[in-house]
Amino acid sequence: MGRLRVSGVTKRYGDVEVLKGIDFEMAEGSIVALLGSSGSGKTTLLRLIAGFADPDTGSITIGDRTVAGNGARVPPEKRNIGYVPQEGALFPHMTVAQNICFGLKYGRRDQIRLNEVLAITGLAGLEERYPHQLSGGQQQRTALARALAPRPSLILLDEPFNALDLDLRRAMASDVAEALRNAGATAILVTHDPHEAYASADYVAAMTSGLIAQFDTPAALYHSPVNSNVAKLTGAAVFLDGAVEDGRATTCVGWVSVECPSGPIKGLASVMLRPEQLVLSPTGAGVDGRVQRVIFNGDHHLANVEVDGLPLPVRVAGSASIHPGDVVKVTVDGAGIAFERGKRAR
């Protein structure tokens, strides 16, 4: 199993510069999620790595072999990669076993390898079924098994859970990650859902408008996003205006200690907090707030609390008793992230 290096890759379709210079590297046996909203270029990048299209500039290396750029142009069938597209794309005229064995040498039915991947993907017993006789989740697992069977050096998954119900998606994301780890595979997963990325990947590459804005572990990406776009891409976020001095910001919820990922900031800034960092209490320290609206979400309430004329979304434990009109105290747990105000996304 190899590793992947992408350096300086750009791609343009007509007037649109879809990729503006992508650099990243991944280690053997790791799983990387390409996280981005639609239009960020994540699927294009995946298709370049697979070999369905060629980069305009830059190079792609799988293992020791340059497959694109620097004069190389290896077609997809010679790259030794596995590919799991959206909706699975199982061959409808073949059984599960035939689908899985399609990529084996001479398309031969290798019972030992077949049983191995059936076990890894939890499909044992279904090998003689046709795709239309499988549930959505089983279809996705078959597509994964088919990609794993020839022992590719790299597996590419293009939003593979899109067609599934929300409940099934999250469960499948961690199932698939487990199957990939059991197989010792190196894999890239394209997704627009941060939870799917966190559930499956060792590292997440956050893509915004054709660039990798941040390449980090899920926790680092969530807690220390490098800019406000990444902050929004990686989960719910609250932005407050604040004056920054000596690592502290004065905001409508009082003093907040801040980190400044883009270099020291002095003066007016935008301070990012995750909703769970805002804490409500009936009395005690903190600034005054008035509860405007409460949405019950089972394990938690989502309360809109007005502080200083500004509505803030706050999470409160589901067991708490909270009602519109309540006057509460708001405090901040942990540090916020300060971004320069100009860079604040609308």
Binding site: T43, E77, P85, H93, R146, P150
Partner: protein, 513 residues
């Protein structure tokens, strides 16, 4: 992002297939080139004098009268019948569905033959309008009935809950949703009327097609025929283009997944039995009379048994020509459909759509253009089977295209992408993955084209090498000589080998679609 990725991302298409895809587009240019070239040889003065002749005006008025009258009548009858069988409490709706679509089984020139043989009272414009209306009604009825079945009744529930009465709901909610089906059917009927030749010549109605054929018989490379063809094309092409647009945009909307419940049926009340009587009358006129007449001529008449020994060779001729025509048409349609689905750009989409425009042209014009080019530029092809097959391809390519396209849409390009990442070359990926999934559509397309070619008359009549006979050409020549009894076995054979299978096929396709 997906959209952008696809512009360049799906460009993998074997160049050899691309070359094959280009052939039909080249053929399509021929009729237009013929009309322009041959007409221009007549000179400007010649063109003006030919076009302003009283005869031309007479033909134009006859052709338009026929087209407008038949289209209007088929729309009225077809929509009313569809509404009765799908949305009203008429007794035995299943029976009426079969009866109203049954004229599909009888080619228009066979039913015209039957009526014409009853006497001159049914010949002329009035008879032609009645007979062609009866035989074209299924072209409106079937798509409209399918549309009415496909409309989600929840739209009507919403309209009713917003205070619209039953009648206004039908006019404001149901009819607009069925409108594309009605319009598409109406355009199809119009273009059939402009192209119809056999039926009109039996019924003694002079239109552009019959006049062009007369000119061709006088002199087969004829400027007057070319000029009349140009005028006819100028009427046909806009109709064909409009039909293409409607066909593309046609979709039945359903607000959610799952099975729609059955709509509530309107009460016909006192009109129930009159409606049943009207359906019965339609069935009698549209299929009862033709079949009874055909049966009569099979057993009576002075010329009975006259052409019997030629039925077998004609059947062989029909089958061999339509089978080879069907195979060639299907072979050319596959790359065309795949190219248009895998590649983007105006060139490819033009290549796929052009055949539809040509499909709307009369077989007569296509045949004349092939005669013109063969005589001038490729004499060995004139009077050769190859030329007949070329005409067949031009006439029926869209039929094969639609059928293959339906299958091809179920084979996403991702299947080949996956096969390639699993180590298959582009060609192997195509053969092992795409082709097996395309076969049902290819087979259906082939069958449909072969069945339609069995009843093709005009192109075969003009282009087939002398000595070659088919069911349609033999039937035509006996009927033209008023040898009605001699023509009867050929008519019966046409109904059996082409009419009935087409009918069954169409009903099955519509039921699935």
């Amino acid at each position: 992002m997906t959209a952008i990725a696809r512009i360049g991302g799906r460009g993998s298409f074997p160049p050899a297939l691309l070359a094959v895809a280009a052939i039909p587009s080249l053929l399509v240019v021929l009729p237009v080139a013929y009309a322009l070239l041959r007409s221009s040889e007549a000179g400007f003065a010649g063109i003006v004098s030919e076009l302003t002749r009283p005869m031309t005006i007479h033909l134009l008025s006859n052709t338009m009268t026929l087209a407008v009258a038949v289209t209007t009548l088929t729309v009225l009858i077809g929509v009313a019948a569809a509404w009765c069988t799908e949305r009203c409490d008429i007794p035995w709706p299943g029976l009426w569905r079969v009866i109203v679509s049954a004229p599909l089984a009888v080619p228009a020139f066979v039913s015209s033959y039957a009526w014409a043989s009853l006497g001159p009272a049914y010949q002329g414009m009035g008879g032609a309008v009645m007979i062609l209306t009866l035989s074209c009604t299924p072209l409106i009825y079937l798509p409209v009935a399918a549309a009415l079945r496909g409309i989600d009744p929840s739209f009507e529930d919403v309209a009713r809950s917003l205070g619209r009465g039953r009648w206004r709901t039908f006019l404001e909610v149901v009819v607009p949703q069925a409108a594309p089906a009605i319009m598409g059917g109406a355009l199809l009927v119009s273009s059939h009327m402009l192209a119809e030749f056999g039926a009109l010549s039996f019924l003694q109605v002079e239109t552009f097609t019959t006049a062009i054929f007369q000119q061709y018989e006088v002199q087969f490379d004829n400027a007057a025929a070319a000029l009349l063809s140009s005028v006819l094309m100028a009427i046909c092409v806009p109709i064909a283009l409009a039909e293409m647009r409607i066909r593309k945009g046609r979709r039945f909307s359903r607000s959610g997944k799952g099975v729609a419940r059955n709509p509530d049926l309107a009460r016909l009340g006192g009109f129930r039995w009159p409606a049943v009587a009207l359906f019965g009358l339609f069935g009698t006129l549209a299929i009862g009379v033709p079949f009874a007449t055909l049966f009569y001529w099979l057993t009576h008449g002075t010329s009975a048994g006259y052409g019997l020994e030629r039925v077998a060779p004609a059947l062989v001729g029909s089958i061999s020509y339509s089978l080879s025509g069907g195979l060639l048409t299907t072979l050319l349609a596959v790359p065309l459909v795949l190219a248009s689905m895998r590649m983007r750009g105006w060139l490819v989409s033009m290549a796929e759509r052009l055949p539809y425009a040509i499909h709307g042209l009369p077989g007569l014009v296509i045949a004349l253009s092939l005669v013109y080019f063969a005589i001038r530029y490729a004499p060995p092809f004139y009077q050769s089977p190859a030329l007949v097959l070329v005409a067949y391809v031009m006439l029926f390519l869209p039929l094969a295209q639609s059928s293959i396209r339906a299958s091809a849409e179920l084979v996403p390009p991702e299947l080949e992408d996956v096969a390639r990442t699993l180590g298959k070359s582009p060609l192997v990926a195509f053969v092992e993955v795409t082709l097996p999934n395309l076969l049902p559509g290819v087979g259906a397309g082939l069958a449909l084209v072969v069945l339609q070619l069995m009843r093709e008359l005009t192109a075969t009549l003009l282009l087939a090498p002398s000595g070659v006979v088919t069911l349609a050409t033999e039937f035509w020549s006996y009927t033209n000589d008023r040898a009605y009894a001699a023509a009867a076995p050929f008519a019966a054979a046409l109904v059996i080998v082409s009419g009935v299978p087409v009918y069954i096929f169409t009903l099955r396709t519509l039921r699935r679609g």
